[in-house]
Symmetry: D2
Subunit: 300 residues, 4 copies
């Protein structure tokens, strides 16, 4: 990226109606037939539920409005993710309302890799997505590089569950020996942890491994269209609905909003996660990713 | 990309059944419920129809098998593309069988940019996709940078139809003034021309402009999933069909085959276009993009 | 680049003495044994000399302090660049004080390409750097792709002097046929033209060509160290001097300041070119490129 | 990188004299006034000295020809590197003949960062380069993110010596809080380990961190010119010598050969390291990096 222009100097011909004022989320619930939510920074964060989100979910259920959680998190199965919402006080976010990048990886394995062993980097619970595709899952630490002819794919699921000091090298050496597809479920570069800190997510690791190995990996996390398509198809089985009757709500411009816009949904950027209020205008101008709305929070 | 490993040194544990032998295309027609074809290098090239393709199309029609042409070419409308097939001797490739990246750009404009003027780089015929979205299309050369408040989007459609000596600079200066979405329809980097030569396509130009401007462009050409989804949805309206009952046929690993595999289709790489026979093994190993089949040609 | 953190949220532990106050350039002239100047945005701009620069040059000559102009501009020979300064009112910027990226390209040709014909993209005057290496220079438009066995290198010198509609394709096809070194003299992505506008420079074009061709080009423009080294060596022939006794003055963080800092010079960012005063803090934090000083201008 | 052209299809107009035949290294020793050697894959590998290298070093000393080792390895001090050569049977590779990327990082710290604490990722022995610049070195694990106002720079020295599971995140969070220069000494992406395997080097990690943080890091390892310049300057203090009287010997095209060529040295690619004999032609054509000579080994 070459650009040196600070966003402040752009858009001299911006029309007043392009400036973002905060939209109360409650008004958005009324306007859309269905809502898709990102998880972290929208429904919950490192400290628990975003305040007031329970009210939002209650309102949607009361209005009989379908909603889904679209998440790049592939660390656990949908059932386990639903359990975690229940423990947070949202038992109505059931497994059937959750679409995770792991599910897209699983669908790929079912269609394209229907035999052999699938190696992975991730938590033991993330292996669900491989086992659920009727394949044998093998964590990289258990791979024997000299006896890897059975390995037919590699899936990068989560930053936890493996030893970075040993398993990244092992992954590279596996890919040097076996010409197998590499599927990246969670494509996030970082994720927020307590205090204003972040941690490296498996998406950034995947990019590093891809640069080293030189082959083309397959990516399913937002902003890729297939996660949005998966949820859209689930919805279309239930009711006739067009793309702009759906609102995608996210805290991150480059995954939730870019992907939602590109797919054709209306989008709402909330400020309870990755995008602090003081940075909104700057980032929208810097990235050129323009949400339909900006809301302080997804709480009604 | 860091990799210095020549593909020849990889895959020591490759199993014999992974080696590609040529598959006669006729056997594939029998096995799939529907076929999706890339255009250039598969159905036609700079010299006209690929020999024998008329036989393939005839066979599909005789078998009442649906087929679509999935092309990144956004230089003309589907009707005009259909006309060009008719002139080449394939009148049965009708406009309703053609899915072009321009159609995805149009859908985006209809959903997300429903007012104002849309600037574009491309041929006058490519402006169809903007006008067909009920928007006013303005070629970059006609844009007045001092009076551009009406411009609500920019679409990059084709490498022809504009003056590279003046209009690339103008495009950049427009994007420095207006914070508008930039849609890249044809994402190809190059396209083949007569004698073993290539020409720079608008996709490579888009990448250069994006690096200069520093904003995130929206891309719809293969390998992006939405082109495949558009065709898949058209098909699903006609008949129940699952992804692996569809064969995507292409000549380019990084667009047709990567995108087709990722979406869940079976894929066939043909050698009548971008991938010469002497390079197949090398490129499959170098890129890690593995077609389900390799065929000399899509001719039966 | 993944970062979504707006610079405003960083550097909470910044010490007061890290904040930039403007330094009067006159005080810097006293403190350094030699000054290196970038050209555009420092000494001159599209409208002529930066006001007061003549005073700066006079002061340097009066103090018998060596100075050099370090420029990525390879469009003309040093003599022609000196002539242009004379016409602007600075006859004391003589050819022997000018170090251009074209000179580095010439040195490379002299050492590494000592026979054959060197093709180029650039102005006819830029061909000086090839001819001055005792090689035959051939503009891309004059290349016969079917008879190019004599071509032993390609140099990318300037964005003007060739037809972008035809010569970029021709360049790519030449590189597909001949495995020859490609030297990029001017690596700038854009350059400013009248009225807040920019034009694409040959550096951005080179990056696009390199991505298409897939080979590694050789780059000599700032921030590459060799331009700084060339000037440093000229100076060291005249006087003993260490790196931090030299001040590099530039208007662009990512070329002048980054390269100057990395080489070991002290650096001064001036605000008369690419970096407007309102963006200084933002860009220094966003890029992490920190000049030793910030000055409104290089005028005393 | 877009290129899909397999090298085999290029260079139809290649002249016979461009084809590489092996050059006996002994003949090269005669032709050059000084030799610069890369370390790994040229002088030594994971198993010890490359067979016959002792003969080469003896021949150079007997001929009173200066030689230097130019290495991206910043894991230990020059004295420690010299000790390791002595243990391998080459006591004549003394510390004064070694130029490591760590020395360039040290020089930068001396010129640009002359106070405060310098954080680092690397072995305890790599901290030499910071301490040798009269600065306090602090491994990332010992950094207190809430009390980091004293930290004035970060140096990335080696892949060993820290816990990847914790210290990469810590590094990112430090850079989010402090706007400090980041110096990458060893820019290698991988390094070979026993039995055809590789390990991720700190250069690839640096690239990942840079993409996450979004700031511009400073890199000193080959192919950057400054490592070559450092050695060239040491040599020029001893004897008058021009660039093409020096031969750079390396096993890696993209660091040793690219950097050596660009700097103006003649270069010899040896096949005892990263570039196996069966891949030479392929890689030279694929990368466009063309050594002056190819030798089986640097043994005489």
């Amino acid at each position: 990226m070459y650009s040196t222009d600070a966003p402040a100097t752009q858009d001299r011909q911006q029309r007043p109606e392009d400036r973002f004022s905060m939209t109360p989320f409650a008004t958005l619930i009324e306007q859309y037939k269905a809502i898709f939510f990102d998880a972290y920074g929208v429904l919950k964060n490192a400290h628990g539920l975003i305040p007031g989100i329970d009210g939002t979910i209650d309102a949607l259920i009361a209005a009989d409005k379908p909603f889904y959680v679209l998440t790049n998190d592939a660390s656990r199965s949908p059932d386990q993710l639903a359990d975690s919402y229940a423990r947070l006080g949202l038992p109505t976010i059931t497994a059937d309302r959750i679409v995770s990048s792991g599910m897209l990886a699983r669908e790929y394995l079912q269609l394209k890799v229907n035999h052999g062993t699938v190696a992975y980097l991730g938590t033991d619970t993330s292996a669900h997505y491989i086992e659920n595709a009727d394949l044998h899952a093998l964590p990289i630490r258990a791979v024997n590089l000299d006896d890897a002819a059975d390995i037919t794919a590699l899936v990068l699921l989560d930053d936890e569950g493996f030893d970075w000091n040993t398993d990244l090298n092992k992954t590279i050496n596996l890919l040097r020996r076996r010409n197998i597809p590499v599927i990246v479920a969670n494509t996030d570069a970082t994720y927020p942890v307590r205090g204003q800190q972040v941690a490296v997510a498996i998406g950034a690791v995947a990019d590093m491994l891809e640069r080293i190995v030189g082959k083309q990996f397959i990516r399913f996390g937002k902003p890729d269209a297939q996660l949005f398509m998966f949820a859209y198809d689930l919805l279309r089985e239930k009711m006739p609905i067009s793309k702009n009757e759906i609102l995608m709500v996210g805290d991150t411009l480059k995954s939730d909003i870019l992907g939602g816009n590109k797919f054709g949904f209306d989008t709402a950027l909330v400020l309870t996660g990755n995008t602090p209020v003081e940075d909104v205008d700057l980032r929208i101008k810097a990235t050129g990713i323009i949400p339909t709305y900006v809301c302080e929070s997804a709480a009604v």
